[in-house]
């Protein structure tokens, strides 16, 4: 892109090291805590290397139906991601290409829907879901989480869609491509990185959400954050088990990101629209 400088590699390393240390140390500490006894978590001097024990994992996996909750979390999170992507893609493209009276105001209102404190919404949500018979179901949680994730997806995707080449879209329309076809075949491939980001954050909304999962789900649809919060007992947090659960909860996210980051590369820029 720019003139490559011989200094860049060492400078990048110098800038990167403190950031990495700051970012990764707590992760390292959580991961090692999951293989330690609680006593050695506070050992002095701090234990960087030690003989790992797997008791924490064994306890989490035997005391809690972890697999069931993992499945619940996965279903809800994947469903949320799909719902928020599909609706967000459509609405984002609509806002980016179709102006009407009050379109700015409606767009802002979409964002306002995301601003209410969740604690305030949870009681009315509960009553609404009760009325619809959706308490303790995947659908109930899905609806709540899509509504949390959607405003961000819409706003983010508008940003990636407005800069897509309008001339190419118009040419495709004239050639008989449907508006939906234009979105799917032309705009989406260009905006792929935006979709990846929207997908990751929609997934995380559902994956990490605690309050609504606690209130809206009972036995059937309970998700992992509720389980983990249960490890924070009256007698204090069970650090080892909590860390073990957190590590297991983290892994699917890492896998998802590794898979999705293939699409995080520079989008296809259409040579056709240069100049």
């Amino acid at each position: 892109m720019r003139r490559p400088s011989r200094l860049r590699a060492p400078l990048t390393a110098v800038a990167m090291l403190p950031v990495l240390a700051w970012t990764l140390f707590p992760i390292y500490w959580i991961t090692t805590a999951s293989f330690k006894t609680e006593l050695s978590l506070y050992a002095r001097p701090p234990q960087w290397f030690f003989t790992p024990i797997i008791d924490n994992y064994a306890r989490v996996l035997t005391n809690i139906p972890f697999a069931q909750y993992l499945k619940n979390s996965l279903v809800v999170a994947i469903g949320t991601t799909l719902g928020s992507l599909v609706l967000g893609m459509l609405a984002g493209y609509g806002f980016a290409r179709y102006r009407f009276r009050f379109s700015e105001a409606v767009r802002f209102l979409v964002l306002v829907m995301r601003m209410a404190p969740r604690a305030v919404l949870v009681v009315p949500y509960y009553l609404l879901m009760q009325r619809m018979g959706l308490l303790d179901t995947y659908t109930g949680l899905l609806i709540a989480y899509v509504s949390f994730a959607l405003p961000f997806s819409i706003w983010l995707l508008i940003g990636f869609f407005v800069d897509a080449p309008v001339d190419v879209e118009e040419a495709a329309l004239i050639d008989g491509c449907s508006p939906l076809g234009v979105l799917l075949r032309i705009v989406i491939p260009i905006a792929a990185p935006g979709l990846v980001v929207a997908a990751i954050f929609s997934f995380l909304v559902a994956w990490n959400e605690f309050l609504f999962a606690l209130i809206l789900s009972g036995v059937e649809a309970k998700t992992l954050p509720v389980v983990i919060a249960g490890l924070n007992t009256d007698a204090g947090p069970l650090y080892g088990e909590m860390s073990a659960a957190a590590v297991m909860v983290m892994l699917p996210n890492v896998v998802m990101t590794v898979v999705l980051q293939r699409y995080l590369v520079k989008g296809l820029t259409l040579g056709a629209v240069k100049g």
């Binding site: 707590p26 609405a91 306002v112 961000f152 990636f160």
Partner: protein, 289 residues
């Protein structure tokens, strides 16, 4: 505009879904905020109009919470934006191990917030925490990270930054990735410096994405609960008592009217903040066109 009137069919599904699912609970909550409703006294539910709001406006504890929340939000968002932008620019240049490091940088996002905060409390522990162990070894003393009023606010800001710098990074980075490389090539041919192409190409083209990242973070920081609750519970004293902690307390005491009023005030404050930010950033640009 390319798709014209067909646009409304793109908009409707999402908008209908959003407004049905979110607006009904919101209006319900606004309605409850007009009542004097204490769960302990179910027979004594009275419509009191705006009395809950009037009480909040005259309550020094609430005013103080607004100040604390604003300080926390401002500090966290500025720090996170600068760090996220810096990281995104760093990652926009190819270097070795980029893919691996990109995943590693994102890891804090994947830690359940409550667990992340709990682990930071272990790290911050004044006597037994790993941070103070090394600081003391270096002769820097043992700062009371969470029990000194000023330091506690800094500490929760740092933990929030730890958790959400990856968010800022990822949003801005994805925005950078879709910028057409031809522009930078042309600028380089014309002899533009790195700073010039950042200032005159990256910033204008990325304004919307950066603004969105800041908006989203600002509204989340303003409503942050988990981290503050786990780390300080609002203390020491009221040093880190944000609006959301007051809201939690009101709910906990069963004051439904007041709790919902706090929620609605939060919503109004956040909406105002976003509106001002949007206007401040987008208006001058529109005028310049």
């Amino acid at each position: 505009m390319a798709i014209g009137g067909a646009g409304r069919w793109f908009l409707l599904p999402g908008l209908i879904f959003l407004f049905v699912i979110d607006l009904i609970p919101l209006l319900y909550s606004a309605w409850i905020s007009l009542f004097n409703w204490w769960l302990i006294r179910p027979r004594d539910i009275r419509f009191v109009g705006l009395a809950n709001y009037v009480r909040l406006a005259g309550d020094p504890e609430f005013t103080r919470a607004v100040v604390v929340t604003t300080l926390f939000t401002t500090g966290a968002v500025v720090l996170e934006f600068l760090a996220g932008l810096g990281l995104a620019l760093l990652f926009a240049q190819p270097f070795r191990f980029l893919r691996t490091l990109r995943v590693l940088i994102l890891l804090p996002l994947f830690v359940v917030p409550v667990v992340g905060a709990t682990m930071w409390r272990v790290i911050f522990h004044p006597e037994m925490g790993v941070l103070n162990y090394y600081l003391a070894a270096l002769g820097l003393g043992r700062p009371p990270w969470l029990s000194d009023p000023k330091l506690a606010l800094v500490s929760i800001t740092l933990v929030d930054a730890w958790r959400t710098i990856p968010f800022m990074f990822l949003v801005i980075y994805a925005g950078l990735e879709v910028l057409p490389p031809e522009l930078f090539e042309a600028a380089a041919v014309d002899g533009a410096s790195g700073w010039q192409s950042f200032r005159y190409i990256t910033v204008p083209l990325l304004t919307y994405i950066m603004l969105l990242a800041v908006l989203i973070r600002a509204m989340d920081a303003f409503r942050e609960f988990d981290i503050i609750f786990v780390l300080t519970g609002g203390g020491p004293g009221t040093a880190t008592q944000t609006i959301q902690l007051l809201n939690y307390r009101a709910f906990g005491l069963g004051h439904m009217g007041e709790a919902n009023a706090i929620g609605i005030v939060t919503l109004i404050l956040v909406a105002l903040m976003c509106w001002v930010l949007l206007r401040a950033v987008l208006r001058p640009r529109a005028a310049a066109r």
